[in-house]
Every structure is written in C-alpha cells, then in structure tokens.
Amino acid sequence: MVVEKKSVVVFYKSLFCFFYFFGQMSERFKVPVLKTGKNNILRKFESCFVRLSYSMFFSILFFPFLGSLFAGFFGRFVGRKGSVFLSTFSIFISCFFSWFFFISSFYSPISFHFVLFPWMSVSSLFIYWGFLFDSLTYVILIVVTSVSLLVHLYSSSYIENDPHLPRFISYLSLFTFFMLILITADNFIQMFVGWEGVGLCSFLLINFWFTRIQANKAAIKAIFINRIGDYGLALGIFALYLAVGSVDYAIVFSYVPFLVQNSFYFFIFNFDIVSCVSLLIFIGAVGKSAQLSLHTWLPDAIEGPTPVSALIHAATIVTAGVFLLARSSPFIEYSSFILNVITFFGASTALFAATTGLLQNDLKKVIAYSTCSQLGYIVFACGVSAYHVGVFHLANHAFFKALLFLCAGSVIHAIGDEQDMRKIGGLAKLLPFTYSSIVIGSLALGGFPFLSGFYSKDIILENAYGAFSSAGHFSFFIGSVAAFCTSFYSIRLLYLTFLSPANGFKKRFENIHESSFAISFPLVCLAFGSIFFGFFIKDSFIGLGSSFFNQSIFIAPFHLNSFSGEFLPSHIKLFPSFMAIFGMFSSFLLFNLFRSELVFFKLNPYLRFFYTFFNKKWFFDKFYVEIFGQSGLSFAFQHTYSLIDRGFFEIFGPFGISNSTQFFSISFSFLSSGHLYHYLFSILIFIFSFSFFILSPFSFSPIFFVLIFFMM
C-alpha cells in the first residue's frame, strides 16, 4: 500500500506539471477568442480564461493517455487498485472538463480551434496537429468520457479477479484517448489516426481473453471488416485531397460549394467529385457504424468482456461513423443522391437488425442487434439531413444502450457467465435492482413516452416523413416497423431473463447476489441519464431555431425538414409511438398467455423458415463466408499465392537470382583459368566488339580500313 500511495503522489505531481506545462505552452497560442472588452482588467481576466481553457482542453485529451500509460507500463508497480484508481481518476478529470464545456456551450456556443505543431509537410500537403472543439465535439465528448468513466468504474469490479486488470484498464483508457483524438481533430488525416486507433483498441479489447478461440475469431473479424470501411474512408480522403488540395476541415468545407458539378476521371470513368467523396466517406461510416453489409462484426464483438461491449460497441466506436457523417455534413449535403443512399442503408439496417434481434437467444446478442438497429435509425436521420436529431439520438442511445449492456453484464456476472436467455429466467426477484435498471433501459430503447429514447426516435421518424420524398417515406414506415420489433424484443428479453420461470441450473441460482457498488453505481447514473437526458437536452439540441450546433453542422436550406416534421398531422406523429407500445403489449401477451403456442414457430414449415431466417441473421455470414470467403481463399491460394508469389516472384526473385548466381559464378571461375592467353583473348574480344560499336555510326571510308588493320 505504501507503494501505491507513493505512486499516487507521483501522479499528482505529474498532474501539476502537466497543467503548468500547458499553461505555459498556451501562451504561444494567442488566439483572439474573446476580444470584446476594452477594459484592461477584463482583458486580463479573459486571457486568464483562455489560458485556463487551453489547459482544460489539453487535460481532456491527454489525461486518458496518461492514465493508459500509467496502467499499461507501470501497472506492475502501482498495483491493481492503483492502476484502476489512476486511470479512473484521469478519465474523471477529462469527463469533468467535458461536462464543463458542454454546459457552458449552452450559454455561449463558442468553438475553439488551435494548432499545436506541424506533423508533416510534403510539397503542397500540410498537416498540423490541430484541435477543433465545437458543439458537435462537446456532445460526443460528454458521451465518450462519461460512459468511459462509468465503464472504468464498472470493470474494476467486473473483472477484478482477472490477473491482467491493469492491461485491460490501459486498453480502455487508450481507446478513450484515440476516440478523443478522432472527435477533436481538425483535419481528416488526424481524424484518421483516431479512427485507426479506436479500431486497434477495439481489436485488443475484443481479444482481451486471447486464449478463447471465439474471441480471437471475433476480433479478427472486427478488424478485418472495419478494414474495408477504412479503405473506403482512406480513398475518400485521397480523393478529397485530389479535388481540394487540402485535408483541413476548414478549407475543405468552405471549398465544397465550388466543387459542385465538378468531376474527375478515374481510368475512363467520370465521377462527380462531391458524390464520389461522400460515398467513400459513407463507406467508412458503414464499416465503423455497422450498417447493413458491413455489420457482421458488431454482433460478434460481444465475445469481448461486457464492459467493452458497453463502452465500445454500444456507446462510442459505433458513433464514430455517425460523427464522421455529421462532421462532413457540409460535404454530403451537396449530393442528394448519396443522401438517399444513406437513408436507404440506414433504414434497411434498422429493419434488418430489429427483425434479427427478435429471435436471438444470446442475451448480449439481442442487445448488440438492437445497437445495430438504432444505428440504422441514426444513419437514416443523417440521410434525411437531420444530423442534429441523429446526434441527439446518438447521445441518448449511448446512455440507455450502455445501461442495457452493463445490466446484461451484471446479470451474467451474477449467474456465473451464462448468456443464453433460455437458461436463465426468473431473476426479477433475485436481482431487483438490475431488473429495474434493465426495465428503464428497455423502455427508453423502445421509445416509451417521456423517456429519452422517445424524444429522439420519434423526431427522427417525423423528420423522415417530413422530407416528403420516397426515401423519407420508405424510412418512416421501415422505422415504424423496426420500432415495433424493438419493443417486442426488449420485452422478450425482459420476460425470458427476469419474468419467466427459472430455467437454469440450481447451483447457479444458489450463489446469486446483487453486484457490488462499483457495478451498481454506473447503472444508477446511466439509468438517470436514460430517463432524464432526453427531456432536459431536447430543446437545446433539436428545438426549433436552437443555435446549439450553430457552425458544426451544416444543413442545406432545401434539406431543412425540421419545420415540415414539426407540423405533421398527429396520426402520423403518433404512429411510431403507437407501434412501439403495440410491440410491447403484443410481446408481453404472447409470452405471458400464449407461451405454449410458440412451439408452432418451429413445427409449421413456413414459420420455421422465418424462424431460421431471422435466427441465422438473414444468412449474411453464410453468404459472406461461402461466396467471398471461400472463393477468395481459393483464389488467393491457387493464383496469387502459388502462381504469382511462389511462382513468378520466386523464379524471377530469390530462387532465380541465387540459382543464376551459382551458375554464373561457376562459369566465371572457369574463365579465370590461370592461362595468360585466355585472359588476353577475352580482353581482345572485348576491344574488338567495342571497336565495331564505336565505328558503326560512321560511314565506311578508307580510314575505317586503316583502323581495322591497326586493330588487327
């Protein structure tokens, strides 16, 4: 314990040094942020404020990194508790400042932009380490840091028996750091650093229990499928650089209106710049936000520890894609076609994931599919140009989905690592606190009136309808059906886990207990968030005429659907809520009263088809594996590997060179035979052949013969 205290003191000292350092450093950046007052004292106060806010910004960014370093490299010295405390504390500081800026931005929506130092400058490409803090960043900041804080706290208890707790905590903090880099970047390249960093940390965290083959497979799948999206995003950034000549947000976004109608040639194809770049960026978002076609990694990622699922795969990493869409809204807004594509993809994802979630048996998988479905909502909100509503739903969703995952973790923890819902049952009386939390989470997810999900989801659907386009109507109805499915499977989950008669083994139920404070406290916080966040924040985020997202989100005037969404007829407005409540009731009735009839799902061949189809996730995995995976593997082995790599390159590369070297060396050593006349003969051959080479350009003339005679 003495060691731990010492290390804590060291940490505090480094903290003060840190503040001092950045305070000093910030003097270099004299950015005129608040130059309004002429009073000298006021100015001093302002400069104090600016300097302070720089230190605060930097502490938001780098405290998670410091915590990660401490836990990762010095976890052995500071001990388990020490590393947990240090990293949690650093995240707390970061979280505190994020909330500070978030709340202050209600009163004065200032955006801060400062540039630290150049990263690379290659010909016309200048990239700086710069940071941009605006309203969009603040929103994601509070989501990331508060969920991260709670998850740190939670996992300190959840995996306290694991010998690698400091490593885990270090990964979590590192993930938070990269996420902050992603959302605070002021150019695409720096954003890409964070983008890849979170991908890496996601890989490490899914694979945390690296001795489990399932975890390995899921982790490889996650990073592999994300790679496709990253590839798209990288291509998008390249195309952007090609078109604009810069990757800074400020330059790119101010340049976009001049790019409309411009096009470039790729081979013989002519592409519209704005559409092409928007599409590529959207492919990146598809990968990260698990939209249809690249979604398969997300449900498998639940193989990681549950806090990871809560932090990464419910609250943060999947929001990166949405953040990217919202951030590049000034770009995407100019391409209506791509907006329709986005809407279509989002709506399809929402429906697909909701129907798949209906018939999953794994507790966490249901929640994962519901995450996927909600992301579909958010993305089609972006597609109908309601970015602010999308971001609002993102924040709400982060709270209640983290709550759901953490509750699931609590259940799994209590019952001894059993995840199959059919084998649990009857926990409502044994775990009343977890039960109540999960009820709150499920209701918020289902869009029960006046919980946070209600405010955002309904507004999304209203906006979609209010777009008065075919894509909008499509997504509205799809979204309503998905809302029905969502509440249906939420209640199914509740019922199977908590309300139905106990189905598990007796031994598991004997030792059951409510979890410790460290697990319960995050649940309480998140439950409060799920209940009240939507209500409190609604007006500033999505209130008509609210100036909260003043500069950070751009909505083209001809895409502004909020007004038409606001004045829809009330039966349209009430339709989604009705569907949600109808779903709840039907699910409840079905499972309570007609439970014995459910067996027909498996007996009736038509219904069994649906059952298999939904339970097997629409056969996406099978499709991918058999069509792409197998053929790709066989192609890779038969052609690229054995024909090109081991064939062509081996023969003309290493093998060929070494063989020919041996051959030449032996034949050359014959040449040096030790006989003088051999040497002279080879030399003369050289001289003669070269003489002809010299003479060949010249015409025949007497002197030619003279010289030939000379040489003879």
């Binding site: 060179i657 070297t661 041996q662 030449f664 060396s665 032996i666 050359f668 050593s669 040449l671 040096s672 030790g674 003088l676 040497y679 002279l680 080879s682 030399i683 050289f686 001289i687 070269f690 003489s691 010299i694 003479l695 010249f698 015409s699 003339s701 002197i703 030619f704 010289l707 000379f710």
Partner: protein, 416 residues
Amino acid sequence: MLTVIALSIFSLIGSYAYLQKNYFFSFEYFFLFILAVFSIAGLPYCFDFIGVYLFLELQSLIFYTLASFNRTSSFSTEAGVKYFIIGAFSSGLLLFGISLIYGACGSLNFEVLRVLLFDSNFYNNYHIILCFFGLFLIFCSFCFKISAAPFHFWSPEVYEGSASSVSFFFAVVPKISLLGTLLHFCSFAFFEFSFFWEVLFIIFAFFSFSFGSFSAVCQKKTKKFLAFSSVTHVGFIIAAASTHSFSGMTNVFFYLFIYSFLSISFWSFITFLNAQCFFNRSSFLADFFLVNKQNFLLGGSLGLVLFSIAGIPPLSGFGAKFFSFISVVENGSIFLSFIIVLFAVISCFYYLRVVKWVFFDTSYANKGMLYQCKPFFSISFFESITFTSGLFFSCFLFIAPHFFILISHRITLALF
C-alpha cells in the same frame, strides 16, 4: 597526395609484423615502396600525356618488382610475371591510344587538348574516330590498372601470389590516384566527349559488377575473394563516375575514401592472421572460422567491418553505396541503378558468408587446425592502431561524413 601518403603509411604499419615475420625486411623493399608512393602521389598532378605515361610506367615497374619480391616463392614469381606481361600489354594499348590522340590533335598537353576539343569546328569524322579510339584505348589501360572488368584478370592472381603486405598496398593505395587521374583527363581534356566516356564507364561498371560479384561468390581463397570484391567496388565507383555530374564525382571520391578505410582494416586483419599463425592461415576463407572464439574483440570488430563492407545501413559502406546509387538515380539512368541494387544484394551475400565463417561455423571438418594456431591472438600496438582506425572510419563515417565529403568536394573541384 596527402591522402595517398597517409594511406601508404597505414598500409606500411599494418604490414609491419608480417614483414618482420617473413624476413624481407630488406632496405630495397622500403626504397621501392617509397618510390611507388612517389609515383602514385605524383600521378594526378600530371598535365601532359608524357607525364602520365612516365608516372604510370614507374608505378607499374615498381609494382611488378614488388609483386615478385618474394623470390623464394614460385607463386610470387608467377604473379610478378603475369602482372608484368599483362601490364606491358596494357601500356602498349595506352601508348597506342596516346599516339592516336596525338595524331588527331597534334598535342599531348591537356590544356591544349581541352581548347582544341572545345572548338566544334575543329573536328570532322576522322578526328572523332581517332579520338574515340584513343580515348577508348587509354580507358582500357587505366581499367587494367584499377582492375575493372574485363581487364581485371591479373588482380586476383597477383593478390594471391604476392606477399600479403604487397597485396595490401596494391589494394589500398593506388586506386584513388589512378581514378583521380582518369577522371581528371576525362572531365578536363575530354569534356566534350562526355557522351562517349559515360557509355564507357557504364559498360565497364556493368562488367565489373558481374565479373566481380559472380566470381567472388564461389571464391574460396581470401585474397582472391578480396580482389574480386574490389572489382565489384570499382564497378560501384565508376558507376557513380558515369553520371558525369558534380555530385557523382564527389561520390566517387567519397566511395574511394570509405573503400580505402575498409580495405585497410580488412587487409590488416589478414596480415595479422598471417603473422600469427605457424603457416599461411589466411589463404582460405574457411580459415577464418571461429576467429570470434579466439579473440572476441577482434572477431566482433571484424564482423563490424564486414557488415560495413556489405552495406548494412548505419555503417559507412552503406553510405558509400547509397551515395553512388543516388547519384546514378539523379542522373536518370534507371536501368543502371536497378543493376546496382541487384549486385549490391549479391555482394552483400558473399560478405555475410564470411561473417558466417567468423562467427557461427562449427562444422569445419579439420578441427585440428585450431590447435595449430595460437589459442589467443595478441596484437601489437601498431597493428591495433591501424585496425581500429580503419574500423572507426569505416564504420562511423556515415554518421558524420562531413569532413570526407568536404575533401572529396575539393578533389572534384580540382578536377575541372
């Protein structure tokens, strides 16, 4: 000139122990040695073909003598005779080339030649042919002297046959001066013919790469191996010279410096081996086996030297090859640079093979050899000085090469 003298002092010190042991510590040796140094040092200062010819002949006559200095050895005699015969042939070519150029231009002075050849009204076809032939023959004879392929045949045999100290001297000292002279009259007198001698350089470079590296791969004898590898080095050097750019010339001399230092350390090691053992241990490459076991420091530094010659990045051999390569790439001759890379790989291979002998080879059949040598090497003060200074320069010149780059810059400035 100072460079040449410094190099020869190094080589003399390096072969001190060897000379002591082999009893030809006679005064003629030093006399000839100093005369050779004089001729080599004076060569670049010639401004006239007469002077060039005379200094070159003086140098080669002394070298013939030195090569056959060990009268009791039939190897040495054979080496001397072969060197002499081929050398006489090459000086015949030189003389004939000079006579052709004299016939075309009517002068033997570089300054006059330069003025004449700059004037494009001066020549017609016959002049050009005569000058081409003359230049070509002079090139051939210089390539004899610097042992560029396909005129390199004498060098492995002479290195092998003559005494180690003499080969040491042959390998280290004359190349810089000979190449300096060649580049001097190329870029001074025959500046207008650069399109021609660039091609010549490229062809010789190509031949040197291929002959040198392919022959060195399967070579078993130490000194022959070194001769062939020096042929490859000459290839790299004249490839850099073929660029006919200022930086290319600078890199030629930089490469020559580094090559000299590397050769100093490696050759001095060979003379140690010769001096230490009861019989001629260094004649085969396989005799290097487990030097590391006998003297760890020596083995380690030998490994460092070999890595440097092979061109492993932080060491200076890499720097030299890299600069040569860069100047070729800057010149835009992609094919040549590709060939340079290819043969750099092969040359890397055969040096690393020696490293394998030094450190790892335990499978050598004749382990009794080990007992015939002293269990430990002991190195005298002079030897250690040569070896370590060569080692120091050769390994760390890439880190702070400014001084030598400056010198090569000055030399290059003096060429034009």
